[in-house]
Point group: C3
Chain length 335, copies 3
């Protein structure tokens, strides 16, 4: 297990991740993916460590993935259920986090519908000198780093299954299609993919990708990494010659906000189909963070295509990547 | 542990279970019941195996029983909580199952309010060549095989605690009383008990047991096993000389559908009491799948009678039988 | 681990706890606190034991604390979730408990919004000769023994970190401030603190502390222990010279019952602040059972004061005390 170039206590956003750090995550995930393929699927790396899932915004999928990752590392897992929580009793979010700290939590995975909550908790944990590591499990429209990292890992494995490396992304054209405006997955992927040298093309209707969004994004860049990002209001220029196409989940509530005429029309213009992929590279693959609205973001047959679709691979790799993140933040905290 | 005559990958229904398969379940459960009585109540049989409880229809009792059974076998358990799920986000049930497959699930226990969901998921798992075993934890009005198998196991243990065997049921008269029409427990028990050679008598008001139901059931039989099933619209002919009486849970919502005049009247005609059992065999025992409406399906004192009632035994045996099923489907999948 | 003077099967209330029993809990918790500070934070003491959390009244905080305590002792944990339970199907609470007994539960932690439920379940468990130990996790307005015991443990650790003992409380003045009338925490603390020889001063507005409450409480005393309890309708006489100040959570729904003019006015008269503590002993410390309404029961800066506030310590000690209770009730039940 390489821990070269890893000094972070938290994983909150990928905006300031260096290429070396991304590579460390990929290589650590490679090791854990190998563990998962063995008959013994459990390692004692985090024995005695307590991982608390503080999911203020409910999510069975991401929570299960972190829970399984933690158990594979022999950690103890506590799940905080928002419905039955002290929050309804007036406690602040920081006080809830501090309560779990005081119980003996070593690592917290935080998901919240508002941007900035994981950051605020991480700051408080540091201020208290707690030594707790915070993992952002998705916050508002801001960031979803573990999703972007599992996407990265999936891309590298696809490019070279025997020697996956984030350096393989250099110069690749990657299209991100859909509701960019409301997607924390897209934001995290933008930082991650450009840090690895990929060229990113965004495509969506203007209501979901306002003119100037990409430029505004680039100017926030905290690291001096070139961020080649292009913005399109139709699908074709984004797909042309693309090595990979990532499509995003369309929240149906966007309809009620009058940002889209209809799901059907959205699919006609931005839904991925086998036909539409013909202008991509012959080796093109499709990704989706799930859960999928079949026939909206992606046609049902394309989603199930074992050659073109990487959707199941993404879920599998999610466990390995989350094992890597928990390990990198948690090693040395237990016995 | 005998695994003679076991080739199934899934347990979806008991309609095509042979007597030999039923006996394998009983004998495997005997072994696990012995484990549960030792001080060390855990065996490493399914170490590394991931059991996911996909309970789309909530059920604390059955879920806890499967969860404890899995933990006793040293498996990892993931619980899918419908309230906080991707389903509310538009994902299909098959896609939810495939997500848990991709995370590394080896065995799935599925409960759903609609008939056929576990079958559909099992088919998809096979089509994908996943190797995943599916256990039906109760689907609509169709089937509840683990309940019928724990009932079978309880009957055999009662008939001969030292040498329990499904062959002991041959020629026994078993009454099933109550809402046959809406009971997946009754359906599964019918297949199971008749396959073992028991004679089954059904008793219920005609609204809950339409004329011809038993005949219709028998004609569906996929195996050439005699299915002696008799149907009665009063309690007495079913109880007369019965070796065992199984009563079914009465869903209170049946009242609003005008199928019953009142719970009180139901109890007067079909509720089990000590007095009514006097026409049964002297060794008669009563079973109920729970949860019980005291004073409706069964009088409170009969329910608590340590000699006549097998209700607690059923719950205890449920853990052993579910260990047996998880073991038979899961052995060899872990380390 | 000392188990001198421990013969209880259940912990339901502290009303009849002797000083020797309280000291046994403190000393057992001392041992487990030492375990928690080691790198290996897990002991095999309750391997094979099943702990079921029956939380009819939801509580993430207390449930997580018991869950972690049980896991640190290597027990298996089942969580009963009221929302998805058989209770909604008409099953009685006792039948739910008996179902978990039949599954193999050895220890039950019961929380219920009505007083007396844990007692009723414990009686039933004894009547059945089950050997199951019942821990009251909080029942109605009656009792919350594990909270009072963790408060006791926290006080003794503060008085002498190297040699904590309940005898250190002898003659100490302890103020309990707030909604005494509706607090099961206050009731349990009254039994516990006076049994250790402390002098307790209650302070609250008369609507939350009716005249004569302390006298009425003392007359219920089942043990011949002096119970010096004083009652005040203003804060000053309770705080003057106090060694510790415990403030209680104010349920906001009390407002709608017209027991309080406003939260602001409550804070003005009974809220704890650094200034108000100046009339206490110079070594005074503040406790709160949580969750806290910041700026109501206690000012925000006092709550976060690392010298004056013991709130985080209480949470940490809660895990050690609950390990002690589970151990004392559960040892010998597993392998």
């Amino acid at each position: 297990m390489t821990e070269a170039s890893w000094e972070r206590r938290h994983v909150l956003s990928l905006a300031d991740f260096t290429a070396a750090e991304l590579e460390t995550v990929v290589q650590t995930a490679v090791s854990f993916r190998e563990v998962l393929s063995r008959r013994t699927r459990k390692v004692p790396a985090l024995q005695g460590v307590v991982v608390t899932n503080l999911f203020f915004e409910p999510s069975t999928r991401t929570r299960s993935s972190f829970e399984l990752a933690a158990k594979r590392l022999s950690a103890e897992v506590l799940n905080f259920a928002p419905g039955t929580s002290s929050l309804t009793k007036g406690e602040t979010i920081l006080d809830t986090a501090k309560t779990y700290l005081a119980m003996g939590t070593n690592l917290m995975v935080i998901r919240h519908q508002e941007s900035g909550v994981p950051q605020a908790i991480a700051q408080e944990m540091d201020r208290l000198g707690s030594g707790v590591g915070v993992l952002n499990g998705g916050d508002g429209l801001h960031s979803h780093p573990s999703q972007a990292l599992l996407d990265l890992f999936t891309l590298t494995l696809t490019l070279d299954p025997d020697n996956p490396s984030s350096t393989l992304l250099k110069g690749k054209k990657i299209a991100i299609v859909g509701d960019i405006l409301h997607s924390r997955v897209a934001r995290s992927n933008l930082w991650c993919l450009t840090a690895c040298g990929a060229e990113v093309h965004l495509a969506a209707p203007p209501t979901l990708l306002p003119p100037g969004l990409a430029e505004a994004f680039i100017t926030q860049s905290p690291l001096a990494i070139p961020r080649p990002i292009y913005q399109h209001s139709t699908l074709t220029p984004a797909l042309a010659g693309a090595d990979f196409v990532m499509t995003l989940r369309l929240q149906k509530e966007r309809m009620t906000q009058h940002r889209l005429p209809s799901l059907r029309e959205y699919h006609q213009h931005f839904g991925l189909t086998r036909d539409r992929l013909e202008i991509c590279q012959p080796t093109v693959k499709v990704l989706h963070p799930g859960p999928v609205n079949r026939g909206v973001e992606i046609s049902s047959d394309l989603m199930d295509d074992p050659v073109l679709s990487l959707i199941s691979e993404q879920v599998t790799n999610g466990v390995a990547v989350r094992m890597a993140l928990l390990y990198l933040l948690g090693v040395g905290k237990g016995e």
